[in-house]
Each structure stands twice: as structure tokens, then as C-alpha cells.
Symmetry: C2
Subunit: 227 residues, 2 copies
């Protein structure tokens, strides 16, 4: 018997749950996969919207993985300055075939030192912060640079996961999984990017993120100064 393909989702408090549950649904359908949800301390983790993900394993207890995926969310600020969490990510990433993120989870990969000189995706409103960690922002839904595959904001995680699935298992299996989750999207509005949403709607969304972004920048300026 061959070893299962081990996928680890590294989550943390106040993540955006769909960043992780979207790809989880796809990658858990990989034939022969072992899908593990893990966090720094193990146990229950609450999303920014109050969803509780139970029974996560402790990152330090996971010896290795084939794919590591880091989602985004408001909790990125704390996670990206948590030395224990970052050290576990670096350790698992060093042995992984794929190092991945969804949404502004790429900022955590960056903070772990994994994106230096690498092209990466991010949530549109947070993408401009990638250079903080030496990464090159790319405005695509899925970006690949070597063994690093990053997805854009939240729902891009589904496109990301199907892309990764085709790479791991071939297009035929990815297409069957796409059909099994009936992924023939038909958004009722055309408002998924700042360009299509227009200035007014974009302003509404960015206004709610300004203070969080400023706080993130301050935290990383402080940690850069401390190095």
C-alpha cells in the first residue's frame, strides 16, 4: 500500500472559514488523500464569523505533509507575528511537495519567509502588502511559482483547489470532482472584483479593512525593527 497523500490545513483563530472549507471540500475528495486540520494548540478554532471548527490537531504533532495550505482572514494579523505558528509552517513547508495559501493567507506564508522573490496571489484588498515580505503580487485567482501555489480572495480557493487537484491527480479526476460539487458558478451579480463592482461598492468594502491593514503594517514594521 502506498502512503496517503497528506494535506494539512493550518488554521488559527478568526480565520475566514470559506478560505479553508472550499479547498477542503475539493482536496478531501482526492483519492487516497488524508486531510488534516491543524492549529498551533489543537482543539477548537472559531472563524471570524463564529463558526467553530472542532478537534483540530496540533501542528507540532504532525511529522510531515505533502501539501500545506494556509487560509486567510482577520486572524492573519495575529498569526503572522506568532513565532510558534510560523516555525511550524516553515518546518512542514520544507518537506512538502506543495506550499499553498488562499486569500491573505499568503501574507502568513510571507511572514514565515517562504515567499521571498516569489510571485503570489492574495485577496485583492490585501495584495499590496505582499512586498512587505519580498513577494511579487499578481492579480490572478491562482498563481504558481515553483512549488508555491497561492489563491486569491476567499472563493478563489475553489478554483485554486481544482487547479492543484489536476496537478496532483490529473485533469480527469479534477473534472469529476468539479462535477460532483456541481461547480458551474452563476453569480447573480457581476461584482466579484473592484473593477466589476465599481468605485462605490469597492469603497464600502475597503473602508471596513483600512484600520486592520494599518494595524498589520504597524505590527510588521515593529517585528522588522526587532530583527
Amino acid at each position: 500500500m502506498s502512503e496517503p497523500f497528506r494535506v494539512v490545513f493550518a488554521i488559527y483563530p478568526r480565520l475566514t472559514q470559506l478560505d479553508f472549507t472550499g479547498p477542503f471540500e475539493i482536496l478531501a475528495r482526492l483519492p487516497g488523500a488524508e486531510t488534516i486540520v491543524a492549529s498551533r494548540d489543537g482543539g477548537a478554532i472559531r472563524s471570524d464569523t463564529g463558526l467553530e471548527i472542532g478537534a483540530t490537531r496540533k501542528l507540532a504533532e504532525i511529522e510531515r505533509c505533502d501539501l500545506i495550505c494556509v487560509p486567510g482572514g482577520p486572524g492573519v494579523e495575529a498569526a503572522s507575528v506568532d513565532p510558534v505558528f510560523l516555525a511550524e509552517l516553515k518546518r512542514l513547508a520544507s518537506g512538502a511537495r506543495y506550499v499553498t495559501s488562499v486569500c491573505n493567507g499568503s501574507l502568513i506564508l510571507g511572514a514565515a519567509g517562504l515567499l521571498k522573490g516569489k510571485r503570489a496571489a492574495c485577496h485583492w484588498a490585501w495584495r499590496d502588502l505582499l512586498p512587505t515580505f519580498g513577494a511579487i503580487p499578481v492579480a490572478d485567482r491562482v498563481v504558481r511559482d515553483g512549488n508555491i501555489i497561492t489563491g486569491g480572495g476567499v472563493t478563489a480557493g475553489i478554483d485554486f483547489a481544482l487547479t492543484v487537484m489536476a496537478d496532483i491527480a490529473g485533469e480527469q479526476i479534477a473534472r469529476a470532482i468539479q462535477l460532483s460539487v456541481e461547480y458551474a458558478p452563476a453569480p447573480p451579480f457581476d461584482s466579484g472584483t473592484p473593477e466589476s463592482a465599481g468605485a462605490e461598492t469597492t469603497g464600502l468594502v475597503t473602508a471596513r479593512m483600512t484600520s486592520r491593514k494599518e494595524s498589520f503594517v504597524r505590527a510588521h514594521a515593529a517585528s522588522a525593527a526587532a530583527e
Copy 2:
């Protein structure tokens, strides 16, 4: 202060977690919403792919809601013949402004007697079973019949939730939430429906569902005979 708009997701063991986590991510962003995840017995619920949703509340302890949403998954078979679960759904649905489902969750609404003579969506592979409960199958991603709004398979839950959001809060808020989750889908393949996937891929997926569908039909034939 006005009462919060209360959304209840009624979940059960072996649900398909993305059926519920997709709409949860959207509906939890409704300004003034209270989003509750509940199950028959409360506590932790495991999805068909092994994701644990923690700390669900007990359906019987929830007095009322404005919107009830029932996801689908392999657990539909057991849930749709569970008299306690179905009775709680009927009770909450009777006072709700919206009665909704995603994927083959519509078969549970049907089993609860809520779809008689109603047009409804369902996962493509399970849609033909809707007439078991007097419902009229419609091959759309989002179907509305009065206060009943049903979504198609798994990922259709995101399109469903944005449609419901526009109805509750107006198009401007729905468009801002769409932008916040960067929902500008770009599937890497065109394989989300049996028509686009083609006969071979569709055959792969339906083959895995045949025995579950047969078992579902037998269970409901038995419960119909017992009535």
C-alpha cells in the same frame, strides 16, 4: 434596537460541509444577522469528509428563526427518515420568512412535507427524486417558489446565498459581500454540469451514487408504506 435577523443552519452527521459553509460565509455577513448552527442533539457534527463542526446548538432549543437552511450530503438518507429532525424543521419552517436548502438538502425539506407542489432545485444527480415528495424538479442553480428558495449542488450554495442576501438586504449589500469574498469565479475546467462534463466523467460520478440513491428510494418506499 430591532431584533437580529436569525439564520439557522440545520445540520446532521455526514452532511457535505461546503453545502453549508458556503452560504454560512455569505449570510453571516448580513448586517444585523444572528447565524446559528444547530443539529438534532447539539454538539459536534462530522461531515462526510471528516470535518468536525463544533458546538452546534440543539434544534429543539431554538424558539424561532427568520431563515432556515438545510444542506445536503450522504447523511440525507438518515436525516430524511429521522422523525425528530423532521419535526424540528417543520416547526422552525412554519415561522420562518425563508425556507431554504442547498444540494440534496431539498430532499429533506421534501421529507418534512414542505415541498408539496413546489418547484425546487437539487444536486443534479439527485434531482429526479424530488417527485417522491410531490416536488417539481427544476434544473437551475437557484429556484424560488414563494418563500421557498432552494439551491443546486454544493457550490450552488454561494449563488443561492447571494440571491437570498439581495432579497433580504438589497442588491447593493449583496454586491458588496460578493466583492468581499472576491466571487468572480474562474473554474480551470468546464465540467460543472453533466452536459459540460460529458458522458464519461458523468458516468464516473453517478456510479459512486447509484447504491446510495437506491437505498434512499427503498427507505422512503418503506416509510410511505408505514404511513
